[in-house]
């Protein structure tokens, strides 16, 4: 075998390695990661009427850490996946000046109520009949979850089903900040 053949024998398979490395690099990045322009900005105020008839306003929650979660009853399976985590977080943090607010968007009242009953949500939930709040928050798809700090600024936005870990991590971080 000639020297040229020997070189080729290694060069042929090795030639594809850089391409594979490049593709592997792709996993490190998220092509759809567009940072929300709202992060760091004051959260848009809203006043809604909850399913139980009580008013909810963001203004009145100033000084507390607020988690705003946008959901819909037809959002299968992501909203169903995250629902138990939200209730667990509410139970764990409600005494530590944390408020969860669920905002039900693009939905009908009856299935929305059934959704709340099924998961036994005890934190305030309100429909957004005109879709104004979801527009203010630039909601693209459900579920999306916004974390608002004690000064009323949006600090973190999570797209997709939120988990116990994310809730704990974000809430602990915001609670650790001085009021």
């Amino acid at each position: 075998m000639s020297a040229r053949s020997r070189v080729l024998r290694w060069a042929i398979p090795l030639a594809v390695v850089p391409v594979l490395v490049l593709l592997a690099y792709g996993f490190r990045t998220d092509p759809r990661a567009i940072p929300s322009p709202l992060v760091g900005k004051p959260a848009a105020p809203f006043t809604l009427t909850a399913f139980d008839g009580k008013p909810i306003s963001l203004e009145s929650l100033r000084g507390r850490v607020v988690v705003v979660n946008f959901w819909a009853s037809w959002c299968v399976p992501a909203c169903y996946d995250e629902a138990p985590s939200l209730e667990r977080a509410w139970q764990a943090y409600r005494d530590r000046s944390v408020v969860l607010v669920g905002i039900n968007i693009q939905d009908k009242e009856e299935p929305a109520r059934r959704f709340l009953d099924r998961f036994g949500h005890t934190f305030p939930n309100a429909p957004d009949p005109a879709g104004r709040v979801s527009v203010d928050y630039g909601v693209y798809g459900v579920p999306e979850t916004f974390f608002i700090d004690r000064t009323g600024r949006v600090r973190f936005k999570h797209v997709g089903a939120v988990t116990d870990e994310i809730l704990k991590q974000q809430l602990d971080k915001l609670l650790a900040e001085p009021a």
Binding site: L8, R9, I12, V16, L22, L23, Y25, F27, P31, V76
Partner: protein
Amino acid sequence: MTPELGYALTVAALVLAVYGSGAAAWSAVKGRADLRASSERAAIGVWLLLTACMLLLVYAFLTFDFSVRYVASNTNRGTPFYYRITALWGALEGSIILWGWMLSLYTLIVVARYRRTQPQLYPWTLAVMLGLSSFFLLVMTIPAPPFERLSPIPPDGRGLNPLLEDSGMITHPVALYLGFTGFTVPFAFAMAALIVGRTGDEWITITRRWTIIAWYFLSLGLLIGGWWSYHVLGWGGYWAWDPVENAAFMPWLTATAFLHSVMIQERRRMLKLWNLTLIILTFSLTLFGTFLTRSGIIGSVHAFTQGSIGIFFLAFLALVVLGSFSMLAWRLDRLRAQGELDSIVSRESAFLLNNLFLVAAAFTVFFGTVFPLLSEAVKGVKVSVGAPFFNLVNIPIFLALIFLMGVGPLIAWRRASAENLRRNFLMPVAVGIVGAALCRAFGVGNLLVLLCMGLVAFVAATIALDFWRAARARRRTGDGWLDATWGLALRQNRRYGGFVVHLGILVIALGVAGSQAWSTQTEATINRGATVELAGYTIRFDDLQPAEESNHVKVVGTFSVSDRRGPYTVLTPAKKFYPQEQTPIAAVDYRLGFVEDLYLVLGDFARDGSHATVKIQINRMVSWLWIGGLILTLGAALAILPEPRRTPARPRPEHATVA
């Protein structure tokens, strides 16, 4: 129950596929017929189990079994029943089932067809195909299980992606996947040939028709994809150089190169290494396409969702590419060419140039597609190259390919004489020049379009000239023109099938050139009862009405259109509002025509229906793409027909390609 049953079937199929692959390989090493028979039964078992999986999932869809997560994610109670069936391949998990099922079907055909006729290559082919099936079954078991249980069971599902509620989505994935998976057969035979060391023409002869079939389905998949994009997405185009489109286009380019270069190997014993490289590339690119659309590493309008599946696919891709190229390198000394290039002016060199251009096109498309990754890795900035890059680089390449399409089939093998050139090309070149001049006289100003028209006329003339000569020769034996034509097409079906495919491509090229150069559009806000004019059409806004469908609400505009001769048609473009979608979806209305399509997209409107904004497009010659697709189908069908047995009374004409 269904989720557990489905999962059990998947795991059983995986076990059988892994066993069958190992048994087939071991039977080849040891020459044990009993093991081979056992691996064949495993292949049949894999197919049966996957068929059961598909039927079970269809049943789950039809009965709204929302305990299956995939069903809940891709259908709801309003989804019409036919879309509930096609929802099977509407998203990632189901598309993998479809893929695996087709692969198992091809495996079954290979078993039936080559069990007795190819004792040496066949066991390894079976081992490779079952090994590849194992991977897809592994994906169905771990990262993307279609039968995952959803708990608690929701009262209703999310619904199918509204864009997929279209007839094009019923056929497009099926055709595309038949094409993608079809290349597994030639690839598996090529691997078998490398393993056994029989690197001659055997595998090429066996898989030639398979390659044409796969190529045809891939072409069809691309065309139906274009049609879907054209009449569903509502932007008036049919091709956007989107990563997902590119993913299907790259293997098409290398497969086209392969279809041509095997002819040189058959005829001249050259390019063995090159042909193996091309089939490995083609198969790897089909995997790359699947990886790209399912890993989420590059953003695209119609990418599937992401997850750990990307890592599985990348590992598999690495295994296939490194494994097959290593095998190629291992057999390098058996892949020396026996023939050599005699002259630059010859059919061999025309084919080589064709290959060079096709692979260059595939490379530029690849480069453009992964460029966002590359720029991020090197410079830390995400930059996409858009349609301008792809057009700039690819238009000259495709024009050159059209030119070669005229030269290749008529130029002599080995060394073309001046006489050969004059005899075959003088008239076509003249036709091309006259054609371009006529277009110029009729007011075509765009240089690229003129060039394209001239080249198309040239190639069409070479085909007509060749056919006319051959038919005339047959007529001397006493046949009528019709018999002569028909007999010629059937007797040399590969050659004339190829010509018909070329004609189809020419018609598509005219459609692309024409639609790019002459389409026109406008956007207007019209008050009710008022009109707007564009390119000879007068469009009046008559009405706006809401309508409720089973799974969405739509607002339908009514526009009456008249052309120069009087009333022409009424178009009813709509906007559909699906509860699960944030943004409304435009439903285009259109009238297709041979020369031009009228195409209306409804934009914003006043709630009281007093005015509406509408985008009006006159898309010229787009229909030629679909007509070209039909011609291409006829050509491919002709080329796939079995070669006729040749009777000694009529010896094979001199220019026939070797069977």
